[in-house]
Amino acid sequence: MLILECPYCGVKGEETEFHAGGEAHLKRFGPGSEDADFETYLFMRENPKGVHLERWRHANGCGKWFHAARCTMTLEVFGSYSAQTFEPPKEIKDKISAKRPGWSWRNFS
């Protein structure tokens, strides 16, 4: 059972306090977009063995959505950060790079 820290209320909580929301930093494609783009947005997933950037909601807490960087092989959590951003903050990326050299995620690393 994971422990996660909500970056909004600062609470470190049990996994059961949170709701997992799948891959983070997806770009929404709306009406008029290409079929392939829309399919990618809705269904295609990185599903890496390693660092995963993902969404969580502090559902049984402050109710806020946030993002976390977590390793799917070891369940190490590199940090949690605001959901209102297009990529992780530098300190989290640096922390990941230090522990998982050569790491990358879609179009950033």
Partner: protein, 415 residues
Amino acid sequence: MRRYSAFAIAREAARFHTGWERAWRSPEPKKKYDVIIVGAGGHGLATAFYLGKNFGITNVAIIEKGWLGGGNTGRNTTIIRSNYLQDPSAALYEKARSLYETMSQDLNYNVMFSPRGVIMLAQTEHEVRGYQRTAHANALQGVPTEFIGPERVKELVPIINLNGPRYPVLGGLWQARGGTGRHDAVAWGYARACSDMGMDIIQKCEVTGVRQEAGKVTGVDTTKGPIDCDKLGLVVAGNSGDLANMAGFRLPMESVALQALVSEPIKPCMDVVVMANTVHGYMSQSDKGEMVIGGGTDGFNNYTQRGSFHHVEETVRALVETFPMVSRLKMLRQWGGIVDVTGDRSPVIGKTPLGNCFINAGWGTGGFKAIPGGGWATAELIAKGEPGPLSAEFGMERFIEGRFIDESVAAGVAH
């Protein structure tokens, strides 16, 4: 291959069983095969078996990173049923179920298919309607099921508590020819039969790359060197994302951990398989006497095959509520398996963006029961290069077209 039989056992007993031959050979890989299947789990081995049996294609290698049958085939709760709602699922799972009926004889390996019957409990009005719908659909699909009342449920499952204060049992969907099988034996039986047809099962050999030319697959790189092939089948369950990445495409799937547990063995007390979706638990009793119990999946991506306590807690609560006598049994072992879940929670059997490369994946929690059907359909796909009727609806293009196969609609969320 020497046939297994009671006579063979008697003969071997006389010489202290020194004459038994290997169930499967352990060859070094050849330079090239007509078909390479990656993944020697149930689906991979079944695919190879039906390539040989149905299409005469026997120049086949099955490459396995670990040990054959060592993934989800050996980690599930062994339930076999086909009472699915949607036509494509019902066809595929019923094909599988019917092949299970004769598998022991077909493979000359006792897989202990036990058609003891499966009940899915209805504990809300909504669930009653959902299962009545499934019963109607099954009738037209040629899958014999019936919706039964609480009294019949009690007859079939004497240890059940019909009158829980929160979710009384209102009835159930009963498939008399559903049941269980011996999961390891399915992999071993197929492996023995494949090996006997001359196929090479190459264990402890990891695929490290997919070789291609002009948009078509030409072979794979492995820890035992490169191996060429004309056609490639990827049948690796929770590792599908990794393989797809090597082959240069992405999949509409995520990998999560599915939880299961068993109790200590007790004398027989429950003959059928019971699934209770409202309270989230399912249970059967193995031939060994253990109560085999399935739980839920994590909501997050996970490749560790570890169990988690809060899932077990939720599942066991449900079972204590449904079968009060289990309260005084003890949990012997819990574990997790990695399942790959697609966008509509139905599997993918189909072509991939890479030519001559085919995939069988995304079984979520329902892989074991589908093994022979999935193998049958995937073999047809690989042999002909195009999906046959069993897999026609299961291609990945359904995610572009919006043509989903969604089973969760019929209350039966768990497989």
